[in-house]
C-alpha cells in the first residue's frame, strides 16, 4: 500500500460529482426542479480529497451544496435525482429537496442555514465517540460561514470537548454576491489556529494536495484531536444557478439599467462613485468564472495524462446510467 492517494479513483469520483451536478443543473434549467439550486461545481477536489479518508461509520454535516459529498459517501445518485424531482421514491420522499438531503443510514445530514453544520458536526462527533469509537464526523461550510457565531462557538467546543471532528472550510472567496475578504477580519486559518484547532490550508483545486492535508487531520480526529482544513476553490457556476451576479456577469448593461432610476435625481458623478465598489465586485466575478485552469478535474486529468479520458468516459457513463434510471422511473425524458 502506498502512502499517497489513488489519483485514478479520486479523478473518477470527481468526474461523477461533476457529471451529477451537470445533470442537476440541466434538470433545473428544464424547469423540473423547484426552488434554488446551489451546485458544488468547483468543490470536487475538496470533497473527494477529504471523503476518501472516511468510512460509512463516519458522520457528515453538509451545507446546501451536499450532493458531491453524498455521492462520495455512498448515497445513490438516483435517489437524489428522484428527490429533487419531488418524487415519492426520492431519498426523502420529496419532502427535503436539494438543500435538505438526509441519509440516516450513512449519518449524513444537510442544511440550508449558513454555519449550522459546525455545531451539528460536533454533535455527530460526540455520538461517534460514545457509540462508534474510532469514527469521526466532518462538517463542511463556506468561507462566508466563518463569520457566523455558531461556527466559531463550535470550533471552541470541539477543542474543549476534544471531539473527533474535522471541519472543512471550502474557501471560494465569495458569499453570494459578496467578496468575503472585505468582510472577514484576519485570516480564516489564523482565526482557527487561535482556538488550537489542528489547522491545515490546502489548494482545493488539487485533489492530491487536499488528500494529503486531510489525512493527518482525519487521523488525529480519530484520537480526539479536532482539526480544520481550509481549502481554496472556485465557484464557476456562481452562488446558485442564474443568480443576480451570474445574470449581471452575462449582461453587465443590466446593472446600468437597474440603477438608472436612482441616478436621475442624483449628481451622476457621485452615483458612479458609489457604484464603483459594486462594479469592482462584478469585474471580479467575471474574472473568477473564466479561469478553467483552476478546475480540480483538469488539474487531475493533466496529471493522469492519457488515462484520464477513458476514466472520465467510464465515470460519466456510470453516473449517467444511474441518473437515466431515475429519470425513467419518474417518467421524465433524459
Amino acid at each position: 500500500m502506498s502512502d499517497g492517494p489513488d489519483l485514478e479513483a479520486l479523478f473518477s469520483l470527481m468526474v461523477r460529482m461533476r457529471a451529477f451536478e451537470e445533470s442537476l443543473a440541466s434538470l433545473w434549467r428544464r424547469g423540473l426542479v423547484s426552488g434554488e439550486m446551489h451546485l458544488g461545481v468547483g468543490e470536487e477536489g475538496v470533497v473527494a480529497g477529504v471523503l476518501d479518508h472516511l468510512t460509512d461509520r463516519d458522520g457528515l454535516a453538509l451545507d446546501y451544496r451536499p450532493t458531491p459529498a453524498l455521492l462520495a459517501h455512498g448515497v445513490s445518485p438516483g435517489s437524489i435525482v428522484l428527490e429533487v424531482l419531488g418524487h415519492h421514491d426520492g431519498l426523502n420522499s420529496g419532502h427535503g429537496g436539494h438543500m435538505h438531503l438526509f441519509s440516516p443510514e450513512l449519518l449524513a445530514t444537510s442544511t440550508g442555514i449558513v454555519g449550522s453544520t459546525a455545531p451539528l458536526a460536533c454533535g455527530l462527533a460526540l455520538a461517534a465517540r460514545r457509540l462508534r469509537p474510532g469514527s469521526i464526523a466532518v462538517g463542511f461550510f463556506g468561507d462566508g460561514a466563518v463569520n457566523q457565531g455558531m461556527v466559531m462557538e463550535a470550533w471552541n467546543l470541539a477543542c474543549v470537548w476534544q471531539l473527533p471532528v474535522v471541519f472543512v472550510c471550502k474557501d471560494n472567496q465569495w458569499a453570494a454576491t459578496t467578496r468575503t475578504d472585505r468582510l472577514t477580519a484576519g485570516s480564516i486559518a489564523g482565526r482557527a489556529r487561535s482556538f488550537g484547532l489542528n489547522t491545515r490550508v490546502a489548494d482545493g483545486t488539487d485533489v492530491e494536495a487536499v488528500w494529503r492535508a486531510a489525512k493527518p487531520l482525519v487521523d488525529d480526529a480519530r484520537i480526539g484531536e479536532p482539526g480544520i482544513l481550509i481549502a481554496r476553490c472556485r465557484r464557476p457556476s456562481g452562488h446558485m444557478l442564474d443568480d443576480t451576479l451570474s445574470r449581471t456577469v452575462r449582461n453587465p448593461a443590466d446593472l446600468l439599467r437597474m440603477t438608472r432610476e436612482s441616478m436621475t435625481d442624483q449628481p451622476g458623478l457621485s452615483a458612479v462613485r458609489h457604484m464603483a465598489g459594486l462594479t469592482g465586485t462584478i469585474a471580479k466575478a467575471i474574472g473568477d468564472r473564466w479561469l478553467p485552469h483552476r478546475d480540480p478535474l483538469r488539474t487531475a486529468a493533466r496529471r493522469l495524462g492519457d488515462r484520464a479520458e477513458a476514466l472520465e468516459r467510464a465515470a460519466r457513463a456510470g453516473l449517467q446510467r444511474d441518473v437515466d434510471g431515475a429519470l425513467a422511473r419518474a417518467g421524465v425524458a433524459s
Binding site: 428544464r30 462566508g144 472585505r182 440603477t259
Partner: protein, 337 residues
C-alpha cells in the same frame, strides 16, 4: 404586474425616507447588490454590507438605534432571524419598556418570507405569528406594493422596533432570483394581483389598520400577504357557487386591528382565517380570542400551513393555503357540502 413589485415598492419608500432623514441607513448581507438603487443614491456609508453575522449586525442595529440612528436591518429571509432572535426579543423589544419608555429603539427589520416556490422548510416560513407574540414589536405583512411602500414609511417614522415582511411570491425580484421563474415549464402558484395607480410621492399607510378588500356578506375571511389574493380568488369562485365572502386584509399583524376584526366579524355569519403561517399558536388563534373576548361567537375555521413546508410541488401545495383549500373550508363552514 403593472406597478413595481413589492420589493421595488419598498425600496422606493426607503429611498424617499432616506432622502428626508439622514439618520436612516440600511444594514445587511449582500445589500450592495440587492439594494443597488439605494447604494448608488446614498453610498456605502448608508447602505452597509454585513458579514454573515446576523446576531452581530442585528445587535449593531439596536445599538445604532440607541445611539440616535434609525437603522433598517435586513435579515435576508425571516427564517434566518432565529440565529439572532435574542437581539430582537431581549434587546430591541425590551429596552423601551424596561426603561419605562425613556429609551425607544426605532429599528426596522426587513425580511423576505413565505413559500410556494420549492425552497422547503428552512426558507419558506412566514413566522409572523411567532413574532407578533413579542410585546411591543410591530409586525406588518402587506399584500400589495402600495401598502408595502406606505407601511414602510410609517415604520421608518415609528419610534419602536418593527418587522416588515415581504412575501416572496409577491416579489418579482425574489422569484426570479430564487425560483428561476424565467425557466420554461416552471409554474408556481403566484397569485394575480390587481393593478395599482402609483403616485409621484408615496403616502404612509397607518400601522395597525386593516382594510376591507371585498365586502359582500356571509363569511368574513381574514388574511394577509399572499393569503389575501388567494382569499379574493376563492371569494370569486365561492360567489359563483353561491356563497358571499368579505375579505379583510389585516396588513398589520401586531398591533392587530381589533376594532375592524370585531366590526366585520360581527356583521358576518361565519369567520375564517387564511394564514400562511403555521396554524396553531399564532394569528388565527389570536383572532379567535379577540372575537370571543368581544362576545362575537361565530362558526370559525382556519386554513393555514399545516406543518413544516415540504419540498415537492404537490406536497407544498397541500401544506400551504390554496384557493381550493379555502373554497372547501368555507363551504364546510357554512354547511354547503
Amino acid at each position: 404586474m403593472t406597478g413595481p413589485d413589492i420589493t421595488t415598492a419598498i425600496d422606493r419608500a426607503i429611498a424617499q425616507a432616506m432622502s428626508a432623514d439622514e439618520r436612516i441607513l440600511v444594514i445587511g448581507e449582500d445589500v450592495p447588490a440587492l439594494r443597488r438603487t439605494l447604494l448608488t443614491r446614498f453610498g456605502p456609508d448608508r447602505v452597509i454590507e454585513a458579514p454573515i453575522s446576523e446576531s452581530a449586525f442585528l445587535g449593531a442595529g439596536v445599538g445604532a438605534a440607541l445611539g440616535g440612528l434609525r437603522p433598517i436591518v435586513e435579515i435576508m429571509f425571516i427564517d434566518f432571524l432565529s440565529v439572532a432572535l435574542h437581539q430582537l426579543v431581549n434587546e430591541a423589544a425590551m429596552i423601551g419598556p424596561l426603561s419605562n419608555g425613556r429609551w425607544p429603539v426605532p429599528m426596522m427589520i426587513r425580511a423576505a418570507c413565505g413559500g410556494g416556490y420549492g425552497d422547503a422548510g428552512q426558507h419558506e416560513q412566514a413566522l409572523w405569528g411567532m413574532l407578533a407574540g413579542v410585546p411591543g414589536l410591530t409586525v406588518v405583512a402587506p399584500s400589495t406594493p402600495l401598502d408595502a411602500a406606505g407601511l414602510t414609511l410609517s415604520l421608518l417614522a415609528h419610534d419602536g422596533p418593527s418587522i416588515l415582511l415581504e412575501h416572496k411570491l409577491l416579489s418579482e425580484m425574489w422569484m426570479t432570483e430564487l425560483a428561476g421563474t424565467h425557466r420554461e415549464g416552471v409554474e408556481f402558484d403566484v397569485p394575480e394581483t390587481p393593478p395599482e395607480i402609483w403616485p409621484a410621492s408615496l403616502q404612509p399607510v397607518p400601522i395597525g389598520e386593516a382594510i376591507v378588500r371585498r365586502e359582500r356578506g356571509e363569511v368574513a375571511i381574514f388574511s394577509l400577504a399572499v393569503g389575501v389574493h388567494r382569499a379574493m380568488q376563492a371569494a370569486c369562485e365561492l360567489e359563483q357557487r353561491g356563497t358571499e365572502c368579505t375579505v379583510i386584509d389585516l396588513r398589520t399583524v401586531s398591533p392587530l386591528d381589533v376594532a375592524t376584526v370585531c366590526d366585520v366579524a360581527g356583521r358576518c355569519e361565519a369567520v375564517m382565517v387564511v394564514d400562511e403561517d403555521y396554524g396553531p399558536f399564532g394569528l388565527s388563534g389570536e383572532i379567535a380570542a379577540v372575537l370571543a373576548e368581544a362576545g362575537i361567537h361565530r362558526p370559525f375555521a382556519r386554513v393555514a400551513a399545516t406543518g413544516v413546508i415540504p419540498y415537492a410541488v404537490d406536497l407544498e401545495r397541500e401544506v400551504l393555503p390554496s384557493v381550493p383549500r379555502i373554497v372547501a373550508a368555507v363551504e364546510r363552514l357554512v354547511g354547503v357540502d
